[in-house]
Symmetry: C2
């Protein structure tokens, strides 16, 4: 199978690499040469969502500014009525870059860049840039934004850019700034900026519902950040690429909507995940499809949508997860014909009920009209106490009541566990609870780490092998890092 | 002037007391004998809001459950469309009390009882009891509740009742409980209860935007509370009275609406306060009235609405404030003909932008259609850092964007300061900022404490005397409490 790669789909080298070896260090690789050629390429997925042949455009009319305009829309209207796309056309990029060079510069971290990606492609629409204070306060207090027409969209996470005193001083009275990626390249211009205080304590408390030390996003992003936030309108002058072999799975909301249309989906159900897919997940996804068919839908499509941005150190890295997912599809545990695998570029906050709203809202913009919510979504253990950070039921409850998400169909996750009488993952039956074995993420990692096999039927064998290989390589690395003195 | 007192307006004795002496210890006095008679009474206020002669009912039609029903409504619809009144009729009280005695008992603290008062009279409507988990989560995450008809009302503070493990155990599977006041009397029944976890850390973080030690409401109410919350529908079987001489200023939303109608108000502007009124406040209130007249209103009425529930130790106690306010009216600094003074029974959270929404929302239910918001509303100093706990501008901003408050007219506070060129309080003019003297609450207290007079024109002299007398008595008390050994 051959695939026309655009200049920025330059992932041949890393792509193969990702499939042959497990990349342990999932850092940005910015020195990769770009390929701009027609190449043969091995698909990791039986179904390659990038092979877009024809695009059946489904049009709907919406009112905007009193005038009827036509926008592309499939099964669900994007928040704010129109998809946001802030990437400037190729013809303009040169001039914008020259302009950016003339402006005060703001240096982005790796995670800031992920947010430029997220905002620029319209996942956070109608947001058109990093939040100004009005948006920030609404997000923090109401988890939603009220638009000029009085309608409300969900916006549960503050999407903000922090700067330090020195940068604020350099910006002075300028109304626009140039955003510089970690590799030194100009990636965007932020226009009509507004600078306001970054009260970290308040931001953390209202977003996480705790200020306990040890929250991964806080330690990685907020604690080291400056004491000011800078909001404004974003113009992306260089599409964000990671050159990790996976860029062609980073489909924008626009590309996903086109793909759903191409497949003539009449329902799209999104499954957000940051973990390997076991047969319990697969059971749930297949069961959801069955239920949608029973409801009368003819062609429900699953968007299997692993999160691709920042994750905490002990989560399985994206490339390993992607390879594991590919095995699940190759093994037919999930049906390649009715599944699209793509990467959601957002970083992870681990902010439980607050974050799950963001995960759902972004999928509205990507065209999914059904969202599967699990137990304790975006949750983790409390960093300092022996309990879950969030009540495992709160995510589902908060999501079902969240402002701006009324148009999305929320599908609560049915609990699956290992049924020891049938030796397979099955929906938990409380009347015979002793027959069921719960295999937590921690338990699963312990199996993989020790090389022990989980019970038959927990995960497809080829997917399991990917994990075992990853944990073996971790142990090799750990051993290599042990000081010699310890082994004498 | 004579006034018909209902049995529960039994404040003759304490009322006089409050005017002759400053009550230092503003504790509940539950042993007072009740008077049920026609008595002559000295008014502390030139305008006594309780003298209700005729009630002009302003009716409006709303849709409820598909049927047109007529409810009483003055200038602004109560949240949810109808005023909530959960106090059972006198004829039913005996039977309800007998029922309450047969139920598992939940003992209320002084502040729980303030909330029973608040909920029972409909300040928190459409809330009809202590929050169940769905309401609690919406309040915590969205500062609002979505009603069955899809409309949204503001609800920024969790209004909850905590119980401990022992009480939870005693309740068992009962669906109703009896609520017992601090004096041992049954005050209410809570029906169709739901018990859920009280995650104090999360509640505090999301309500205050900080978990710093030293938040007054947290230390007084939440830290000592149990690890469970109990929600349900409230039936108040004994109207809440404080017997502190001020109960006849505790007008319910219904009484206030009736009074506004009686006065034929065509606009009501509410001023929430927990501090003495100085001439800067008065300037603002008088200026607001002038602006409303200019806007075409013929009879704008000021609701001067001091908060009467829990306040922190260094705030001026309610009875002293009430006497100070009475002097301001007697001196004509505020016009008694167009002012109603009443007590807002809510306890204070000091939760800044979150709490100011509650303060505004409750006044909608009381019939005010204009709300004056000041600098740093419901704010205080950070307990452990040398700064305001909240950005002083956030309260006003958050209030103006808050869900469910769209129908309320928000009037931002213009900053007043002491104009040294004119020796009076005047609106601050930044072009001649050096002429202005800012007299903070701390500064004001320091003046009163030292017996020093503030600049002429800062506060009416008779009002100032009330404060000086209070601080003098405090010092006498402090001296009396010093151990003798220190004075040797």
């Amino acid at each position: 199978m051959s695939l026309t790669l655009k200049p920025h789909f330059n992932n041949l080298h890393h792509h193969h690499h990702a499939n042959k070896n497990i990349i342990l260090n999932n850092k940005y690789n910015t020195n990769t040469t770009c390929f701009s050629t027609k190449v043969g390429q091995r698909n990791i997925y039986s179904t390659n969502p990038l092979v877009i042949t024809t695009t059946r455009k489904v049009e709907s009319r919406i009112m905007q500014g009193g005038e009827k305009i036509i926008i592309k829309s499939s099964l669900i209207e994007p928040d704010g009525g129109a998809l946001v796309d802030l990437v400037v056309g190729e013809g303009e990029r040169g001039a914008k870059r020259v302009e950016a060079e003339s402006l005060p510069k703001v240096k982005l971290t790796r995670i800031d860049l992920e947010w430029v990606h997220v905002i620029g492609e319209g996942w956070a629409g109608p947001l058109r840039g990093f939040m100004r204070e009005d948006e920030y306060l609404q997000s923090l207090h109401f988890n939603s934004l009220r638009l000029n027409d009085g309608s409300v969209v969900n916006m549960s996470l503050p999407i903000v850019l922090a700067i330090d005193d020195e940068t604020k001083g350099r910006i002075g009275a300028s109304s626009n700034v140039g955003l510089v990626g970690p590799d030194g390249d100009f990636v965007a211009i932020l226009r009509s900026i507004e600078i306001y205080k970054h009260n970290k304590e308040e931001r953390i408390a209202r977003t996480w519902g705790t200020t306990t030390p040890g929250l991964p996003y806080v330690e990685e992003v907020i604690t080291p950040a400056g004491n000011w936030l800078i909001g404004g309108d974003l113009e992306v002058i260089k599409p964000i690429k990671y050159n990790d072999g996976l860029d062609n799975y980073r489909l924008s909301p626009k590309q996903l909507r086109e793909e759903f249309d191409r497949r003539q989906a009449d329902a799209v159900f999104a499954f957000q995940l940051r973990n390997p897919v076991h047969n319990g997940h697969a059971l749930l996804m297949n069961d959801t499809r069955k239920r949608l068919l029973e409801m009368g839908y003819k062609n429900p499509i699953l968007l299997l949508h692993p999160l691709g941005g920042f994750t905490k150190a002990d989560d399985v890295p994206l490339d390993v997860r992607m390879e594991q997912h590919s095995k699940v599809l190759e093994d037919g545990v999930l049906d390649p014909e009715t599944t699209i695998v793509a990467i959601f570029p957002s970083p992870m906050h681990y902010a439980g009920p607050t974050e799950v709203q963001w995960h759902a809202k972004a999928r509205i913009n990507a065209g999914a009209n059904f969202y599967i919510v699990g137990r304790d979504p975006a949750g983790m253990g409390h960093p300092t106490e022996k309990r879950d950070l969030y009540d495992p039921d709160h995510g589902k409850k908060v999501l079902s009541m969240a402002p701006g998400l009324e148009k999305l169909n929320i599908l609560p996750f049915r609990v699956a566990a290992y049924d020891t009488t049938e030796n397979k993952m099955a929906f938990f039956d409380p009347t015979r609870s002793k027959d069921f074995l719960f295999i937590s993420g921690t338990k699963m990692r312990a199996y993989a780490r020790s090389g022990e096999n989980p019970p038959d039927g927990f995960m497809c064998p080829s997917g399991w092998k990917v994990l075992v290989k990853y944990y073996e390589s971790l142990q090799v690395e750990e051993k290599a890092q042990q000081p010699a003195v310890l082994s004498t």
